[in-house]
């Protein structure tokens, strides 16, 4: 540790950023889709879908991680099939991203759903009368009008992904460079005498990163709101 942070720690920071970024990005389309479905459609099993989405919030993260391990592990029912196609999550950074995405998903969906619900259906109707098919109505009216919530949901998910620990370490362990994210590294430091100092440094790094993201989202949100401001 010649530097303020050692190379091990920098690796954890870089990994956390990568994991959170991809977790957020990859789950965004699903998040928007499910939020829209929950906000605007009614279909059988809607309550079950809603419950499933919220499950990671309700369960202790260890349980979520354990379930992920059982399902997506190389010997799991889904993980096994995926493994045949060459997609492996277990003990890879991609698995960490999956864990983070699953844990952050309820937050993302809620925020987006609230924003979609706030879009006046009368504007969507107006769009339809002008010839926009449901898909275009969504793309040109619903989506841009719900943008503040989408930004909020994305940043919330990113922050949650940055802080995710329990499910990640249970699902993909704590392997440096692969699955040792900032929270896992902090955990390791806190498990031994004298590790608090190093842990604190990582805490500060994650605060800085997350605050940056948060600040960015506020700026974007304000700009979006100013554009939409007042009908």
């Amino acid at each position: 540790m010649t530097d303020w942070l050692g190379p091990e720690e920098w690796r954890a920071v870089a990994l956390s950023l990568r994991v959170s970024f991809w977790a957020t990005l990859a789950s965004l389309p699903f998040g928007i889709f499910i939020a829209y479905a929950l906000a605007r459609w009614s279909f059988p099993g809607k309550q079950i879908l809603n419950g499933l989405v919220h499950l990671p919030l309700i369960l202790p993260p260890v349980v979520t991680g354990y379930l992920l391990l059982l399902l997506l592990g190389t010997r799991g029912p889904i993980g096994g099939i995926l493994a045949d196609w060459g997609i492996v999550f277990a003990f890879r950074w991609t698995g960490a991203a999956v864990a983070a995405a699953v844990m952050a998903f309820p937050l993302m969906v809620r925020a987006i759903r609230l924003s979609i619900e706030a879009v006046d259906p009368k504007l969507e109707q107006a769009s339809a009368t002008l010839g926009a098919s449901p898909g275009w109505v969504f793309l040109t009216v619903t989506l841009p009008m719900a943008l503040p919530g989408i930004v909020a949901g994305t940043i919330l998910a990113f922050a949650k992904a940055m802080g995710e620990f329990g499910a990640t370490i249970t699902f993909v362990s704590n392997i440096p460079g692969q699955t040792r994210t900032i929270p896992s590294a902090i955990y390791a430091f806190l498990q031994v005498p004298g590790g608090e100092g190093s842990a604190m440094k990582l805490v500060i790094v994650s605060i800085v990163v997350a605050m940056g993201a948060l600040f960015l989202s506020e700026v974007i949100g304000r700009r979006v709101a100013a554009r939409v401001g007042g009908a």
């Binding site: 592990g73 190389t74 799991g76 003990f91 362990s173 392997i175 498990q191 031994v192 005498p193």
Partner: protein, 231 residues
């Protein structure tokens, strides 16, 4: 070549030292994943790509062994530890033996321990108190943490006046003092078993297992307060 070690989180410091010297000495790449023994064991059950497993308790190793996941005959007990009663601030060292009136000492304060039915340090502590015949008296006042370090933190912040932790943890914390060590015969021996997992076999694994028994490793472990059980 790469050697993947799944190790109980309490070994972080020692393994960090060993990692450096081992890699320098052999040119192999040591990858250490630190987490709770239970999480690691479950991951191994689900096919984690680990070569070596160092658990903080025997029961998870037993379970892995029962599942046939270890190299026959590779298991050995590497480290030992002792458990101690600590107090917030300065305290008079006391001999802990039959008739030790811990309840009076506690008053209406709390006794911080790791989870007494599940986390090894807690299990050992509970066994010791039981064999001393004082468990029933103090049980209502036990505050269980999810790991030893968290138990230590309760005492270190003065939240709980007393706690039971490993000697290794107690030594490194300035704001607590050791009241006494529980006699070794009051609880099962505290051991850290090492096993070679039966997924793949490389020369590097053997080299590492040898290294763990070697003098450099011994020195590192002892610096952290462990008793090294191999010779």
């Amino acid at each position: 070549e790469e050697v993947v070690v799944f190790a109980a989180a309490s070994m972080a410091n020692a393994l960090a030292e060993i990692e450096g010297s081992f890699e320098a000495a052999t040119g192999h790449d040591l990858v250490v994943s630190l987490a709770g023994s239970s999480a690691l064991a479950r991951q191994i059950q689900q096919g984690a790509p680990a070569d070596i497993f160092i658990s903080a308790s025997t029961d998870w190793t037993d379970r892995i062994e029962g599942d046939g996941l270890i190299e026959d005959g590779s298991r050995f007990d590497l480290l030992g530890n002792s458990i101690v009663l600590i107090a917030f601030g300065d305290a008079d060292p006391t001999e802990i033996g039959p008739g030790f009136d811990l309840a009076r000492l506690l008053g209406d304060g709390r006794l911080a321990m790791a989870m007494v039915d599940s986390v090894p340090a807690g299990v050992y502590g509970k066994a010791a108190l039981e064999s001393l015949g004082i468990w029933d008296a103090v049980e209502p006042q036990v505050a269980q943490a999810d790991n030893v370090r968290a138990a230590l933190a309760f005492v270190a912040t003065g939240e709980a006046p007393y706690g039971i932790v490993y000697a290794t943890d107690a030594a490194a914390e300035d704001s607590v003092s050791i009241v006494g060590t529980f006699p070794a015969d009051t609880h099962p021996v505290v051991v850290y078993p090492v096993v070679d997992l039966a997924n793949r076999d490389t020369p590097a694994e053997a080299e590492f297992l040898d290294y763990l028994r070697g003098p450099e490793a011994r020195a590192a472990f002892e610096r952290q307060g462990f008793t090294v059980l191999v010779d």
